[in-house]
Symmetry: C2
């Protein structure tokens, strides 16, 4: 299935429309109630044994947290991420405090889920999300007093996309979304669903 | 925010309605086109560098794959998961083949995202998902010829919920959804969004 065919596929519109821009409207502001909804979406994600191994450092453009996160972007992400209305550092609860025992075998898996739920909520608010790792993890950890049993795993840039960049219709979308073929995702030794 | 207040919160209805049942309609069947959409939703999830570190073993109740997965459920999940219309084993691409190098630092995180996208798609089809780890990982790995650089991380049970169990309205929902307070998810040293 090609990207163009997705809209007709029956895939939910929020999933069809989702992509990860590297250009955000540098003026648009997300209001605090919407920011709260983004965190709320993550909050209600499922997790192993309801362990909820996540926390978020949330900055709105113009506040100290946003400035603090921008300071530690890598050169690559520093070119585009500061224009996002919201920057979020996504934290995983990796260890039981004071030990080297994993807090949960699924801490990263569940954080990924929570960020996905936040992304779906963002889409429903007309916002786009790009997750990235191009930042100084140690510096964010130090600046925000993140203890060693937590990990600043990824960051999300969240904001509105300039109108001329909207995917998937736009020819201005310079990075087409590509994925492995559907059949490649189904384990070869398992009967494919079509074959039943 | 309590569970009851979620519907009024502005949270997207698919996220509000989502929960993880342990009772499925044992007669309902998911048709193959819907199963394909579930995988398609996962397929279009984002991942670090578009690494797509996921694969799925998908069984529909009545087929050999479903039977093969049921055989390796733990005693706990064996009481409820077989009634799900679809069972999916969620696989993470952990290592570069033939090495002990991580394939991606974010393999588990991204698999979690892909499963979350599948869950959102399921919700939009009127289906519910419960993820679980209560199965014999080694046995699934062996039976489905999963090579050592892949990991059978979790399973998902997917199906329709008997009408009298629908959440969140139902008093029959025996396990209320509970989460840490919103404020607890915002890293203490970061300015909360409300305070800006």
């Amino acid at each position: 299935m090609q990207d163009d065919d997705l809209t007709a596929s029956g895939l939910h519109p929020l999933l069809v429309a989702r992509w990860s821009p590297t250009a955000f409207d540098p003026v648009h502001e997300v209001d605090p109630a919407q920011v709260e909804l983004l965190v709320e979406a993550a909050r209600w994600a499922p997790s192993a044994g309801n362990s909820q191994p996540w926390a978020f450092i949330v900055g709105r453009r113009g506040d100290d947290t946003h400035r603090g996160l921008v300071r530690h972007l890598a050169r690559s992400s520093g070119r585009w991420a500061p224009s996002a209305s919201v920057l979020v550092a996504n934290l995983a609860h990796r260890y039981v405090e004071g030990t080297d025992w994993e807090y949960s075998e699924f801490a990263l898996y569940d954080l990924g889920q929570a960020v996905a739920h936040m992304t779906v909520q963002a889409q429903s608010l007309g916002l786009f999300v790009r997750q990235f790792r191009a930042f100084d993890r140690d510096a964010v950890t130090a600046d925000f007093d993140v203890p060693s049993h937590w990990e600043v795993t990824t960051m999300s840039a969240i904001g509105r996309v300039p109108a001329d960049l909207h995917a998937p219709a736009s020819p201005a979308l310079t990075v087409p979304r590509e994925r492995r073929a559907l059949g490649d995702l189904l384990w070869p030794s398992a009967a494919p669903p079509r074959a039943v």
